[in-house]
Assembly symmetry: C3
Amino acid sequence: MKAVILAAGKGERLEPITHTRPKPFVPILDKPLILRHIEILRKYVSDILVVINSEYKVHFNSIQGVKLVEQINTRGTAAALKSVEKYINDEEFLVIYGDVLFEEDAIKSVMKVEGNTMLSVSVNDPKRYGVVILNSENRLVKIIEKVENPPSNLINAGIYKFTQDIFSYIDKIRPSIRGEYELPDAINMIADKVTVVKYNGIWMDIGRPWDLIDANKIFLEKEESRIFGLVEENVKIKNKVIIEEGAVIKSGTYIEGPAYIGKNSVIGPYAYIRPYTVIGSNVRIGAFNEIKESVIMENTKIPHLSYVGDSVICEDVNFGAGTITANLRFDEKEVKVNIKNERVSSGRKKLGAIVGGHVRTGINVSILPGIKIGAYAWIYPGAVVDRDVNKGEFFYPPYLRRSSST
Amino acid sequence: MKAVILAAGKGERLEPITHTRPKPFVPILDKPLILRHIEILRKYVSDILVVINSEYKVHFNSIQGVKLVEQINTRGTAAALKSVEKYINDEEFLVIYGDVLFEEDAIKSVMKVEGNTMLSVSVNDPKRYGVVILNSENRLVKIIEKVENPPSNLINAGIYKFTQDIFSYIDKIRPSIRGEYELPDAINMIADKVTVVKYNGIWMDIGRPWDLIDANKIFLEKEESRIFGLVEENVKIKNKVIIEEGAVIKSGTYIEGPAYIGKNSVIGPYAYIRPYTVIGSNVRIGAFNEIKESVIMENTKIPHLSYVGDSVICEDVNFGAGTITANLRFDEKEVKVNIKNERVSSGRKKLGAIVGGHVRTGINVSILPGIKIGAYAWIYPGAVVDRDVNKGEFFYPPYLRRSSST
Amino acid sequence: MKAVILAAGKGERLEPITHTRPKPFVPILDKPLILRHIEILRKYVSDILVVINSEYKVHFNSIQGVKLVEQINTRGTAAALKSVEKYINDEEFLVIYGDVLFEEDAIKSVMKVEGNTMLSVSVNDPKRYGVVILNSENRLVKIIEKVENPPSNLINAGIYKFTQDIFSYIDKIRPSIRGEYELPDAINMIADKVTVVKYNGIWMDIGRPWDLIDANKIFLEKEESRIFGLVEENVKIKNKVIIEEGAVIKSGTYIEGPAYIGKNSVIGPYAYIRPYTVIGSNVRIGAFNEIKESVIMENTKIPHLSYVGDSVICEDVNFGAGTITANLRFDEKEVKVNIKNERVSSGRKKLGAIVGGHVRTGINVSILPGIKIGAYAWIYPGAVVDRDVNKGEFFYPPYLRRSSST
């Protein structure tokens, strides 16, 4: 059997994280999500096809032993699936969305059922998803997309097993309002032939930047403590901590787990790592820094006197000494974030910054709660970043110049 | 016998501390001053009457076993005392001002003498007080209020024993220039019947915000070391330190006593507590903070990368990461403070900020020496607070907006 | 024999270091360069004459057992040497420039040769110096000053032995374009009588402020570890460290040598001292400070929450809490510095600030890479210092006032 990973999405809602990587490459404990998918799928299928967007080809090329198929011309998950039709020769095949997080049990559940199958999970906020209506025999009645008053909490988990028939139904669907050819429209046509499998394990759609914090949190909970790196004397470690090979924890560091420290990262001296901090590989967290419930990606440097809380800091970022992220509003209301021109509540009272790859901040920079800084941006020393910063922008404080977008 | 505590003063000179509490509730080692008075008085009297201002009733209601009497209509200490006339049925009764600091010996000295008695102390700056002239038999000649060239250093300590006669003299006095009925005017009428008792123990009038630092310092000196809280390994403690029950001192904290850490407060990791720091209960001093010779009141949070020196930080304040108080002028002259529209020297080369209750500062905020920030004020991130901030004001840096008083 | 140290130069290129001390008083491991010269010279000569500029007389007066001679009226090294003519009575005498760094071997090499002798060293950037042309018998052919395409890397090291004849040739030279009487012009007149000695030991011209960092680095390499001061428990020391008498290293300090801590300096608690840090005497480096590859001169205070990297901080400076030096451009190009109205590259990717004596910075001040702050300057709290600051200037952020030079 073959498996198809639909990974051609642009991931605009995940910007600035997706300024420098495709959505399925967001790291979960320093490993791209898609590699986790592939590891699981390999246990069940012989071949893996990945439908990609040519813009991110360089990222996908790094994956060993999968077939990359570029999605051309048409948009949407159905169009994406259609791109692989000619490669599918078995009667049945798996399809998964590249940006959802799940455990092996999810695949196992789908594999147990014969014929067309879709996985369904129960969530707290069903109106952001496709709600699944099913009959008493667990046959699909209909998938209803993003409605204001969802009839149930059961949603489409984006993990399917299809028979080859699905392709002929894809040919029949029409574009959605957004101009996309959506896979659920094809599925709805064969609803009575689709078995819905309810799944109670870990599942998550990484749709907004802060979801990445939660996704890492969830996987961190699952891991066991292990210390493969070097821990100098006089380091305090509380609770579960994973320290990968080559990492060095210098004297006077205080780690309150759960926490993850990636390969070859150097922490301290005198760093304070608080619960749910996930640090990628080759990261440098220097003296007098506090990191709390944040995802810090590979090659980033937070060298001196910073506080980073409830934030996502992408790869190869350099924080000037004294750069601080605020993570709480004065009025203690939920922090809001701009997502594709819309101001949405993050549902979090504590949310810091989302900082894109290769960003450089000057010394003593202040970043306000919920601010997004685009990849390659530079922030002038002493500036208070009180609005989102564009990709590649040089952000100045208002008393110098209003901005200089590049 | 009964005792009367005169506690109806507005305490404007103590603002912003008195924005959220009456003067007698300023904390001395985390206990309101008036509770210290009451503890002492209970050893000598059967009943305690407290003359209060209705505005602060909620605070006084929290005191067990005293009779509260509201002072109505007229102003001044004599008017205050008059309010309790109907409750006084013994021949003699004690009267103390609610905002002076003293030890038990002060009361004992007054109790030893028969008839009308007033306590007198010798101070360095008598012109701020009522100077006491007495004859060779320790009988009062006259109390002279706040004169430029005081004839002696002996002043009225605000602790008296009166016979009931005093009430009839209060009826005869006339309002002062400030429009207040002053108790010393009545006392002067019966001067030859008043014995002056000289007292050499601890005495202090808490009249200006920074007096609270000194008052705590004095009482801290009197205490013995005790550690009832939890001290993690790798904490350095020098000199006398009091750590109350439920407090946690995390690894890597360095405490140079004398210092007081109140109940359930959490200090560190990597906090530096320097001499004469008094921290109330439920306070959070996080990583990479240095606190020196300051009073930090209950429920306040100074979580990350702050320096607080020679300051008073009231209750439930939250300092954004990197908030720093300056406590030294460039020219190293005495720091000046605005007290009731007058610019007065604090007599201190080192004086930081006076921050009212419930204040929130943004990240990387700078507060200049001698600045007062009113209760409930918010300070914009990155702002340099170079003038006093009103109660409830949202202080912006000048390049954003001049101010937004609420 | 006598030795003459030419020490009358103004040292403008070394400003602001030379705002408060003459060039030969720059400290190498907390000892003025000229004292190192004198120690070496005393082994070879009976008398030492120092040609000085009257402006800095007070500094030179502190030197024991040397004869000070003021250079009057005329400018240049030849004029300087001429000033001592009447004191020279031996046939031969040594002459050294007061601002070059060398080891004893340099003097020994010159002493071994009879008659007029000059020391020559090979450098990477000969066009900044006087290039030495010599014949096959090591006789001088000519010294060529600062040419764009130097014929060799061999330059004039500023260390000579002369016979009395030199004075008569000095009388014949004419002023250079800069209006100075230059010693090499006189030497060129007797070139065929001058033996050039090549020297391979340590040699350096301290011509630009950052050279002082390298000069200290070089001498630090030569020293052995020694700890004469007090080291509290729980201090981590890595590599070679010199801690002088009276110094105190408080708990929780992390020193990565090579590093030098001068007499009576107090470091920590919780300071992070990184390689090639040289700290003078009576310095205070307080809590949560990181110092890297910098020269910190005597009596300076860096008390709280600072990062100082690749910088020179002169004597009696006080850094407000949270003052940070940036030492890396966003574009990671070589840092440029203004040297005598010219913008020159320092050749360093990492270069912080050059801060003159007695400077005071407010809290949360940011200083950009390569910035020079003149002696006695004050920096307003929260300011970003983005241009050089004059001696005695009070630097304000642009939104308050453009500047206030005094």
